[in-house]
C-alpha cells in the first residue's frame, strides 16, 4: 500500500525529535482524529533554516510525510520554505494512497504553523503566510 520511499521514511525517520531552544514550533492536527504533527525550526540570522525536526502522533504516512517535510525545508530560507506544499511532499514520497493525502496536507500546515510562530516571535511579515487554523479537521476534539 505504501511506496518504498514512504516505508523508508517511516522506518528510518529523518530529523525526529525535539529541538533544544528552537527558533519556533508549530503543532497541527488533533488527537481525536488520530494525527498530530509538531515541527521545530532553528533559523539563523539570515533567515535560513539551519535545522528542522519533528514529532508526530499518527499513521505510517503521517510519520513519513513529517520526515520528508523536514528534509525539504532544511537549508531553505523561511520564504523558500513556504513554497514547500503538500504536493511537494507527496511527490518526494513517490505518492501516497488516496486516503492518506491528508497526511501530506498536515505536513504542509505544520511547516506553516512553525513559520508563523517564527514570524510572530520576530515581528516579521512573510508574504503569503497565513495564521494557521485549528488543523485540518473541523469536528471538535482537543485542538492545538
Amino acid at each position: 500500500m505504501y511506496s518504498e520511499k514512504v516505508m523508508d521514511h517511516f522506518t528510518n525517520p529523518r530529523n525526529m525529535g525535539e529541538l533544544e531552544n528552537p527558533s519556533s514550533v508549530g503543532t497541527v492536527g488533533n488527537a481525536r482524529c488520530g494525527d498530530i504533527m509538531r515541527i521545530y525550526l532553528d533559523v539563523d540570522e539570515n533567515r535560513v533554516i539551519r535545522q528542522c525536526t519533528f514529532k508526530t502522533f499518527g499513521c505510517g504516512a503521517a510519520v513519513a510525510a513529517s520526515s520528508m517535510a523536514t528534509e525539504l525545508v532544511k537549508g531553505k530560507t523561511v520564504e523558500e520554505a513556504l513554497l514547500v506544499t503538500n504536493k511537494t511532499v507527496m511527490e518526494a514520497l513517490d505518492g501516497l494512497p488516496p486516503v492518506k493525502v491528508h497526511c501530506s496536507l498536515l505536513a504542509e500546515e505544520a511547516i506553516h504553523a512553525a513559520l508563523w510562530d517564527y514570524a510572530q516571535k520576530n515581528n516579521l511579515k512573510i508574504d503569503g503566510l497565513q495564521k494557521p487554523g485549528n488543523g485540518i479537521h473541523e469536528d471538535g476534539g482537543e485542538e492545538y
Binding site: 525526529m16 503543532t27 488520530g34
Partner: protein, 397 residues
C-alpha cells in the same frame, strides 16, 4: 515468505490440514452438482449432508435447521432482512447492540431506510450488553433482537442466555451472530433458546467462502437468494461442495478439541495480558478480563497510533490488527472501543492480538518484547507523549 507469528485469528485462520485434504476429492473427482440425479452428483449431495449433520450436532440442532451460505455476513444479512420482512405485519421495531459487527450494523442501517426502527442498546465499559437497557427497549411492536455471541474486536462474551430469555418472555425472535464464538466456546441453540444463529467456516480453520444460518424449526423466514431449490428452497445457488466439506471437517475437529484448545489458548492469553500490563506503562486492557474469548487480547496504548504499531510489528514478522481509524480508512476509530467509553485518542492506539492453539509461549515472549520496543519508539516520536512527560497532557488510561 519468511516465518510469521500469526496473531490475527479473528480475521481468519490457517486451515486445518485435514480439512484441506478432505476437500481435494471434491474439486476434480467428485465434481458433480449436488442437485443432479446421477451417481456422480449424489456423491456431492452425500458429502453436503454429512457436513450438515456434523454442524447440526455441534450446536445441538437438527440437520434440517442448518442452511449453508456463502459467508457469515450473508447469514447475518439474511437473518435480519428476511426476519424483518416476514414479521413486519407484527411490528417494525428491532433491537440490537451498539457493538455488533458491520454485517449486522450496516444491515440495520439498511433496514432503517426500509422503514424499520432500530434501537442500539449500549454496553458497559467492559463491553457487556446492559440487560436493563435491553429490557427497557422492548416494545409491543419489537419483532427481533439480534446480539452477537462474542465481539470480534474485544472478545467480550455476551450474556446470551439472559438476552434470549428476555426475547422469549416477550415473544420476540432472537438472532445471534456467533461468527467469532462458534467453534471456540460452546454454542448450543436449545440450551440458550436461540432462534437464529450465524457462523462462518474460516474462523475455525475451515475454508473461506462458507458459512451457515441456523433457523429454528417454526421460524418462518423466507429465502434471501432466489433462483433454485437448494437448501430446501431457502438459499438458491449451487452448493460450494468442497467448501462445505472442509467446513464440516473443521467444525468436527473444533468440537472434539474445544476444551483442550480453549484451555491452552486462554492460558497463553492470560500470560500475554499479564506481561503487557506489567511491562508497558499507560496501557489498558479492553473488554472484560474473564468473560472473553479464549484467544482475544485487546490493548490500548496511550500516545501512539495503531497503524504505525502494526507496520512495525509486521516488520518483525508479527501479524496483528488495530481499531485505529487509519487501518480502516475511516476518520473515526473503532465503534466498539468508542462504545465502551474509550476516548478517541486512546481508541486510535489499540492493538488486537487473536491467538490459536498453534501459538507458543516462546512466540509470545518475542511478541511482548517487540511491542515493548515499538511502543517505546513510537512514544519517543509522539508529541502527545512529550507533552505528557512535561506535565501538560493526560494519559487517558
Amino acid at each position: 515468505m519468511d516465518k510469521v507469528i500469526y496473531l490475527d485469528n479473528a480475521a481468519t485462520t490457517r486451515m486445518l490440514p485435514e480439512a484441506v485434504e478432505g476437500m481435494i476429492p471434491y474439486f476434480a473427482e467428485y465434481y458433480g452438482n449436488a442437485s443432479s440425479i446421477y451417481r456422480l452428483g449424489q456423491e456431492s449431495r452425500k458429502a453436503v449432508s454429512r457436513a450438515r449433520e456434523i454442524i447440526a450436532e455441534s450446536i445441538h440442532a437438527d440437520a434440517s435447521e442448518i442452511y449453508f451460505t456463502g459467508s457469515g455476513s450473508e447469514a447475518d444479512n439474511w437473518a435480519l432482512i428476511e426476519a424483518a420482512r416476514s414479521y413486519a405485519s407484527k411490528g417494525k421495531h428491532i433491537i440490537t447492540s451498539a457493538i455488533e459487527h458491520h454485517a449486522v450494523l450496516h444491515t440495520c442501517r439498511h433496514l432503517e431506510k426500509m422503514g424499520f426502527e432500530i434501537t442500539y442498546v449500549d454496553v458497559d465499559e467492559e463491553g457487556i450488553l446492559k440487560l436493563e437497557d435491553l429490557r427497557k427497549a422492548v416494545r409491543p411492536d419489537t419483532i427481533l433482537i439480534s446480539v452477537m455471541f462474542a465481539n470480534n474486536e474485544i472478545g467480550t462474551l455476551q450474556p446470551i442466555k439472559e438476552i434470549a430469555a428476555i426475547a422469549k418472555e416477550n415473544d420476540i425472535l432472537f438472532h445471534t451472530d456467533a461468527v467469532q464464538a462458534y467453534g471456540h466456546v460452546p454454542v448450543y441453540v436449545d440450551e440458550l433458546s436461540i432462534d437464529m444463529l450465524s457462523a462462518s467456516s474460516h474462523k475455525l480453520k475451515g475454508p473461506k467462502g462458507v458459512g451457515f444460518l441456523y433457523i429454528r424449526k417454526g421460524v418462518n423466514i423466507r429465502a434471501f437468494i432466489h433462483g433454485g431449490g437448494q437448501e430446501r428452497n431457502r438459499r438458491a445457488g449451487t452448493e460450494n461442495v468442497p467448501g462445505i466439506v472442509g467446513f464440516g471437517i473443521a467444525a468436527s475437529q473444533a468440537a472434539a478439541c474445544m476444551d483442550q484448545e480453549a484451555g491452552y489458548v486462554a492460558s497463553l492469553r492470560d500470560y500475554l495480558i499479564e506481561r503487557i500490563e506489567k511491562e508497558i506503562p499507560y496501557c489498558r486492557l479492553n473488554g472484560h478480563r474473564t468473560r472473553r474469548l479464549p484467544g482475544n487480547i485487546n490493548f490500548s496504548f496511550s500516545f501512539i497510533e495503531g497503524e504505525s504499531l502494526l507496520i512495525m510489528l509486521d516488520q518483525k514478522g508479527i501479524c496483528a490488527s488495530s481499531g485505529s481509524a487509519c487501518t480502516s480508512g475511516a476518520l473515526d476509530p473503532s465503534h466498539v472501543l468508542l462504545a465502551t467509553g474509550l476516548p478517541h485518542e486512546t481508541a486510535h492506539g489499540s492493538l488486537r492480538l487473536t491467538l490459536s492453539g498453534e501459538n507458543t509461549r516462546e512466540e509470545l515472549d518475542y511478541v511482548v518484547d517487540s511491542i515493548k520496543e515499538i511502543v517505546g519508539r513510537l512514544r519517543q516520536m509522539s508529541p502527545l507523549y512529550e507533552d505528557f512527560a512535561k506535565g501538560k497532557g493526560k494519559a487517558y488510561v
